[in-house]
């Protein structure tokens, strides 16, 4: 087995040094793949903005639309910021779990908060709802970025 490869286009030392180079590049790639913390924080704030839209009366729909557009827009500008197309949902299998938890928990918090707001007609309800929804989005968002970086670091 050994003699075949020693006589081939790459000897063992060359092959080992090339694999080591790839391993070193993985660390660089993983730091490039993750989005900066402030982008995740802005995602959280757009979710908080969505929650506060419940208290905008006749401007409620505009508030929902604007905060949803900001949320989607932040996702769309991600490649401009990281300068790669790596992102948690499509690049990382590890990121799916925190991603699903982020979605489910944020929807549940917003649903309960909106229900309480309508039932009690108390604007203060929106504050804890917004803080919880924003915190959940940021927390799981950071988990997703860590999962992405880990998957990239352990890739080919």
């Amino acid at each position: 087995m050994e003699s075949i490869y020693e006589a081939g286009p790459v000897d063992r030392d060359d092959a080992r040094s090339q694999l080591e180079l790839l391993a070193a590049d993985r660390a660089v790639s993983s730091s490039r793949a993750a989005a900066p913390w402030w982008l995740i924080a802005l995602h959280g704030l757009s979710v908080a903005g969505f929650v506060f839209s419940f208290g905008l009366g006749r401007w409620e729909a505009a508030g929902f639309a604007i905060s949803a557009l900001v949320f989607v827009g932040l996702g769309m500008i991600r490649p401009w910021i990281t300068r790669t197309r790596a992102e948690p949902w499509s690049t990382s299998t590890r990121a799916v779990r925190p991603g699903v938890l982020q979605f489910v928990s944020a929807v549940a918090i917003i649903a309960v908060g909106a229900l309480l707001f309508k039932q009690l007609d108390a604007e203060w309800v929106l504050w804890p709802t917004a803080i919880l929804a924003c915190g959940t989005t940021v927390w799981f968002g950071l988990q997703m970025e860590r999962a992405l970086a880990l998957d990239v670091a352990e890739g080919v």
Binding site: Y5, G8, P9, V10, D11, R12, A15, R16, Q18, L19, L21, L22, D25, R26, V28, S29, S30, R32, A33, P79, W80, R83, T84, R85, A86, S90, T91, V152, G155, V156
Partner: protein
């Protein structure tokens, strides 16, 4: 999946710069020219030359687009053929080292 790749030496990918470019693109997907250049520590002409070789082999796609300030940004992305060739080459290297 790298574990299932058929080990095959690839002359085009064998060059260290091209191997590293393919490695970055395999992990990150489409990536900005400047990011690859900085990560590899090579000059613009050197990277352009290697990207052209990979593009001619059908292993990458190079796309140009506008960036903020009207500047042109170049993005490179591994093609399916490039991914197969890269994973096969890495599998070959692992066979050689006995990993």
């Amino acid at each position: 999946m790298p574990g299932k790749a058929v080990a095959r030496f690839d002359e085009t990918i064998h060059g260290v710069v091209r191997l590293r470019v393919c490695g970055m693109l395999a992990r990150l997907g489409a990536t900005d020219f400047a990011v690859i250049r900085d990560a590899l520590g090579v000059s613009d002409p050197t990277l352009s030359k290697h990207l052209k070789q990979l593009e001619q082999a059908g292993y990458i796609r190079v796309q140009k687009g506008l960036a903020l300030g009207g500047r042109t940004k170049t993005w490179a992305e591994l093609t399916d053929a490039g991914r197969v060739a890269f994973e096969g080459h890495v599998a070959f290297l692992r066979e050689v080292t006995g990993d």
